[in-house]
Amino acid sequence: MTTPSATIQPPPLLAEIIESQRQRRRWFRGQFALVWVALVGALLAALWATDNIDTEWMVTWAPFIVGGAGTTILVCVISIVLATLLAIFGAIARMSSNAILFAISSLYVSLVRGTPLLVQIYFIFFALPQMGIRLDAVPAGILALSFNYGAYMTEIFRAGIQAVPGGQREAAQALGMPEALVMRRVVLPQAVRIVIPAIGNDFIAMIKDSALISTIAVQELLWRAQRAGTRDFKTLQALLIAAAVYWLLTIIFSYFQDRLEQRMARGDR
């Protein structure tokens, strides 16, 4: 009875196990989706029950509010790039044997991590002009976010650089590479791979923190939501739209971050 094709099929017992595992996974996913739908549905129902939700208003204003997401993303992308550059220099200085560099970068990290981001934003927008440095709202917001995140990422990069096995550096030095080249060609590329998941994490956190720059009139998501909401006494609805967009953005970027992380992990052999 046995045909040649049957021979490459797994034995019945194994097939059963695989099938039951598959079923269990499907069941798990089904439950997961069900719980999400139920909870989000309950949340929305509770909001609807307040009798304060004007869907027509939300439809009218959604395009205006959602349009702020472009500014949010633009500001965050530029800021994360600048923050990464700041962090690389910060980390190198923080591990330097040069006392001055070490002192500067330590002060930077301590100062930024020791003060609220909102205070830093106000300072850059309101106080700097009195010292003769006047930045428009968007550049001021970008500066504040990159300055702030640069400090946190300095520590990430320091950890990343220290995580590169010492043998790598020694081997490069043994080949006669100068210190700077060792850092640039051997250590940093490996460190970057280690810290990329953390950068992705920070980017997602920054998307939410960028709401703070609405206070200096950067017309991003929250700014638009607040202006639209106060106009018609509909702040709740406006914030609902903004919250949904922030959530969606973090879900999207988290997905890409997961993919990136898996890809990076593939290199570890």
């Binding site: 205006f64 200096i216 009139a217 202006r227 639209a228 106060t230 106009r231 006494f233």
Partner: protein, 315 residues
């Protein structure tokens, strides 16, 4: 096993939450019943049991009024500058640029607010546009927060404020004001749930007898009341904003007559470039707009009534 233990935490958390809820929920009831038992002998007008707190939307004039030290002022007389044609004057800079930058916080309907397409509209926007037109330049709107505008030190981010700003003694130290382009009455409002129908229902004197709580903008006060926050039974704002909230279905009523009238003017930062000529020019333009009926027309359009005639400010 591990999962089970975590699950066991849930009911515990729920219990704690419930305990907090009932704890905070009980105190107002308790105080209400205590007041009720103390009050039954009182006759005539039932004093409403409202907290002596008035909600204010980031408007310092209302805060000053509540504290009892509002000093509404008049614009200083503006004389024709002697050195006309000064190339350093803000007027010359604006003409050269071909554009006047006007600050407006689009957070205050119907003065200044956003449309779904992102454009700004409102009474102040129209007045600013008209001023720019009569100056022969384009208008560009900057949108800082209101308190950044009233604080002065604009760092030349914008040239003038056309933002329904009240002239006060304090502000005159840092800003130059033109003659008023209109006047809004300040209006006290109360939530309908509070039972307050007139000033005589208030168990305290105003100004002086109540504290202020500030929220980011006027509209937030109305929304806090609509959301059922009992600590915000009272609200003070411009009569036009109060009416706007009532029209939107916010459960409030206007309490008593307007408490004071605010003269509202165009302002220029004193810490900026010299601006004698600009101030003189804009002051003249506002005079013309009063005379030819432009301001009356705009006021009727946005507020449904003529607010350009200064009712003598009561204070």
């Amino acid at each position: 096993m591990f999962n089970m233990r975590r699950l066991a935490l849930l009911p515990a958390a729920a219990l704690i939450l419930a305990a907090c809820q009932s704890g905070s929920g009980e105190s107002p009831d308790a105080s209400a019943s205590a007041d009720a038992s103390a009050n039954p002998t009182e006759s005539g007008h039932g004093m409403a049991d409202v907290p002596n707190v008035v909600c204010v939307g980031e408007a310092t004039t209302y805060l000053d009024w509540l504290a009892g030290d509002l000093a509404i002022s008049e614009a200083d007389p503006i004389e024709e500058p002697s050195d006309a044609g000064n190339p350093d004057d803000l007027l010359a800079l604006i003409k050269e640029r071909g554009e006047i930058r006007v600050s407006t916080d689009p957070n205050y309907a119907p003065q200044s607010f956003v449309e779904p397409d992102g454009s700004f509209v409102g009474f102040d926007i129209d007045v600013a546009t008209e001023i720019a037109e009569r100056l022969g330049v384009d208008v560009k709107f900057e949108t800082p927060d209101w308190d950044a505008i009233t604080a002065g030190n604009w760092s030349e981010r914008w040239d003038i404020s056309v933002g329904s700003m009240t002239i006060t003694e304090d502000r005159k130290e840092i800003l130059s004001f033109t003659q008023p382009y209109y006047y809004t009455p300040a209006q006290l409002a109360a939530s309908t749930a509070s039972g307050v129908t007139g000033v005589e229902d208030l168990p305290f004197e105003l100004p002086g007898g109540a504290e202020a709580t500030t929220l980011p903008t006027d509209a937030n006060c109305a929304e806090a009341i609509r959301a059922g926050r009992e600590e915000f039974a009272l609200w003070i704002s411009s009569s036009t904003t109060v009416q706007g909230a009532i029209d939107e279905g916010v459960p409030i009523i206007a309490v008593g007559d307007p408490v004071f009238a605010e003269p509202l003017s165009v302002a220029i930062d004193k810490s900026g470039p010299p601006h004698d000529e600009l101030l003189y020019e804009i002051n003249n333009i506002i005079g013309e707009m009063h005379d030819d009926g432009t301001l009356t027309e705009l006021s009727n359009e946005w507020y449904g009534l003529d607010l350009t005639e200064g009712t003598a400010s009561s204070e």
